[in-house]
Amino acid sequence: MTPVTRTGLDPVALDTLRGIVGERYVLTSDGDVEVYSRDATPLFRGRPDAVVLPASTAEVSAVLTLATRLGIPVTPRGAGSNLAAATIPEHGGIVLVLTRMNKVLEVSGAELLAVVQAGATTAALSDAAAAQGLLYAPDPGSRTVSTVAGNVAMCAGGLRGLKYGVTRNYVLGLEVVLPTGEVIRTGGRLWKDVAGYDLTRLLTGSEGTLAVITEVTVGLLPLPAASGTGVAYFDHLADAGRAVAQIIADGVLPATLEFLDNRCINAVEDFAGLGLDRAAGALLLFGDDGAADVVARSLERMGTTCAAIGARGVTTARDVAESEALLTARRCSLPALARLAPVTMLEDATVPRPRLAEMVDRIDAIAARHDVVCATFGHAGDGNLHPTIVFDPADGDVRERAEAAFADVFAAAMELGGTITGEHGVGAAKRPYLRARLGDDQLALLRRLKTAFDPAGILNPGKLGS
């Protein structure tokens, strides 16, 4: 497929767009497009020619029909919180922002599902579910900001992945607009439905390259009666990794197993002031939910295992507020690390759980070899690590060293049977490494799939499937 190149939008096309969504919702001035030129990924920026904020599926359809007809690139965007440069409009064109379509349309206790518009935030969905005694399980660290469609498009994970899985496990159905303008519904309200290819799953994690999601139907669970959280401190991050392996080997499958190294502990403590042990080499946050006695037993078992592995201290949160504070602090790890230096570059390498401690050691060695400051945190229970290199760009060739270090991290992850990204996606940021992970034949299939959905190649060009 030939990539669409930046052409600028002609005045007629702009007028048509204004006719579709209304004058106020087509932004084109330099200042307007500037704010939609980046997402949460450091060091990437790309200017769109126009920003369009539709209010309905019909408007999205009209915009895409026009774009396909004229060959205008369209990059869908939710909250712009992704960490893979997935919303950077590398080829200009339109950034299509779905935040105005942000309603929670329905929560059904009888059917254990919810229906939301694309731009509803993850937190709004989970609050609406909780109000009816129900749980929306996926909870990415960015839940207060990220949109549900953005979660679906990235197949976001979260802090409960170990027991509950990730976004993909909860998407029952989608309403999407194809790049050619047709509106289709995949899946639906049924937990069982095998009519046709599983397009719902294909679209989950498609990073805005196959279709624009306008409505999402997700599955819910009954809200657990109780939940609890504990903290164990270790001298080394690798010890925390060993504790994770042991906890699971013991037959406990808790909701949450997250870890932070010493640098992260200190950055988070600077922000949240929870009284964490700043001298510890690592912190393991463990949590579970369910019936009160089951939770208590599970926390106790995890605490005992940590102590046996050599934890320097184990505490459990006294109440829900304290639990919530700990989880909130964990969610803030990445931005809190920004306190250390102007640039924070984070990665998302994931390895099979038993190799976690080994991967941690490798990351340490790689950081030392390239002379970079690396802080590591992550969803330990999922084998998902976020090594984060912090640096001041004024410091010579540090950026090249950081990139070289990450290339080694990916290679190490794959050597251990892992992957280049567990949950943050490929976007523009990890595209150079995709071939190594998928191989030529699979890449070619991705391209053919992309063409089947998007014959004109207008949707998020340059990303997956290009």
Partner: protein
């Protein structure tokens, strides 16, 4: 493994400003990592769901200004510098510790310098610089009586240029609450908070310093916005806000605390809500104290948006009345739904905003400054300690 390809290089930007213009403190500007955690806290983003009117979007604009990609005449920059409430709700929620308030002042200093500022902002800046005019307004409206030059042994009550004219009862209530402990020095002038937030932070610092010189020692302030600005210039130790002072005093010496009665309404303990002062909450971190005091004398009701800006935002209600009302409406809805007897405020501009808003809606809820509520309780109790 292949290296980064060309398209990637094209989309990447060079870290660090190309040719910094020196409008912003570079360390403050580089602290933001664009994570977006601040979006849900921002009242203007809540109104629009549009990144331009979010803290992260505004910081992107500031960066483009600093790096020369946009100039100060860009309509989006002009609009967003004015649409921002300056409420700083984006600060405490930012894990990276971005000091948005400071960046905002630097932005307005540049964007609104001299004649570039909106006409009404210029007029207000000028009016509040003239001490005799402010003093006259206070005298006419019957604010607390000046007691002459500052008495070194006492805490000095700052009268506040808007408050003494609009709500003179507040300073009188403070004197009633702290008999013998406060003096009210004459010839006070403006603290400069208004200038600091309206594109003239140098004048803001000058006025605060001058006020500090006229009132050596501890200054007691009844308006959250003024307290935070003054403390920023004079140092936190020298400037105390009303609720902080009371909670501290009464906790330190419970026996010396006055016997407070109950504030009652309709034959029962009154239902009272609170509107935080943004700068007091987000800049100074005072959250617990005013709630604590209200709960001592009435049934405290936490409104869902108690901690969010009411839209008064210094001069904002005068400069952008429509947006100000849109922000306020959320609060008015909540106040009406909660069926409050009183709504307590800790800042003069919030007081004006809510009084007018509730009057427009013919609401039964009355607005009281915290000092006024406590004075009612004092009168209902046995009065000051012997």
């Amino acid at each position: 493994m292949s290296g980064p390809d060309d398209a990637r290089d094209e989309a990447r930007e060079d870290a660090g400003p190309v040719a910094p213009r020196g409008i912003f403190d570079p360390d403050l500007l580089s602290a933001c990592i664009s994570c977006g955690f601040c979006l849900p806290a921002c009242p203007t983003y809540s109104l629009t769901q549009d990144e331009r009117s979010s803290p992260r979007g505004r910081i992107s604009l500031m960066r483009a200004l600093e790096e020369g990609r946009l100039d100060e005449d860009d309509p989006t920059l002009v609009e967003q510098a004015s649409f921002c409430l300056g409420c700083r709700a984006c600060e405490p929620v930012c894990p990276a510790g971005v000091q948005y308030g400071a960046l905002f002042e630097q932005w307005r200093d540049h964007q609104w310098r001299g004649r570039r500022a909106p006409v009404r902002a210029r007029a207000l800046r000028a009016a509040t610089t003239v001490t005799p005019a402010i003093t006259a307004a206070g005298v006419l409206r019957g604010a607390a009586r000046r007691t002459g030059p500052a008495d070194v042994d006492k805490v000095h009550l700052m009268l506040g240029c808007a408050e003494r004219a609009l709500f003179p009862g507040v300073s009188r209530a403070v004197v009633e609450l702290l008999p013998g402990a406060v003096d009210v020095p004459s010839g006070q002038g403006c603290c400069g908070a208004l200038h600091g937030h309206n594109g003239d932070s140098a004048e803001g610092v000058r006025l605060a310093t001058a006020l500090g010189d006229r009132m050596p020692g501890t200054v007691l302030v009844t308006a959250g916005g003024c307290a935070t600005h003054l403390a920023h210039v004079l140092g936190r130790d020298r400037v105390r806000e009303l609720s902080e002072v009371h909670v501290e005093r009464w906790d330190a010496a419970p026996d010396a605390a006055p016997a407070l009665g109950e504030v009652r309404a309709g034959g029962r303990r009154a239902r009272v809500g609170l509107q935080d002062s943004c700068h007091l909450r987000n800049g100074r971190g005072v959250v617990r104290q005013p709630r604590d005091l209200v709960a001592r004398v009435a049934d405290y009701v936490e409104l869902p948006s108690a901690g969010r800006c009411c839209g008064s935002a210094g001069t904002y209600a005068m400069l952008r009345p429509e947006d100000s009302r849109a922000v306020l409406d959320v609060h008015l809805d909540e106040i009406e739904a909660a069926d409050l007897d009183h709504l307590v405020v800790v800042n003069v501009v919030c007081q004006r905003q809510l009084v007018e808003g509730l009057r427009r809606r013919r609401s039964r809820t009355t607005v009281l400054h915290l000092a006024e509520l406590l004075a009612v309780a004092l009168r209902a109790g046995c009065g000051p300690p012997a």
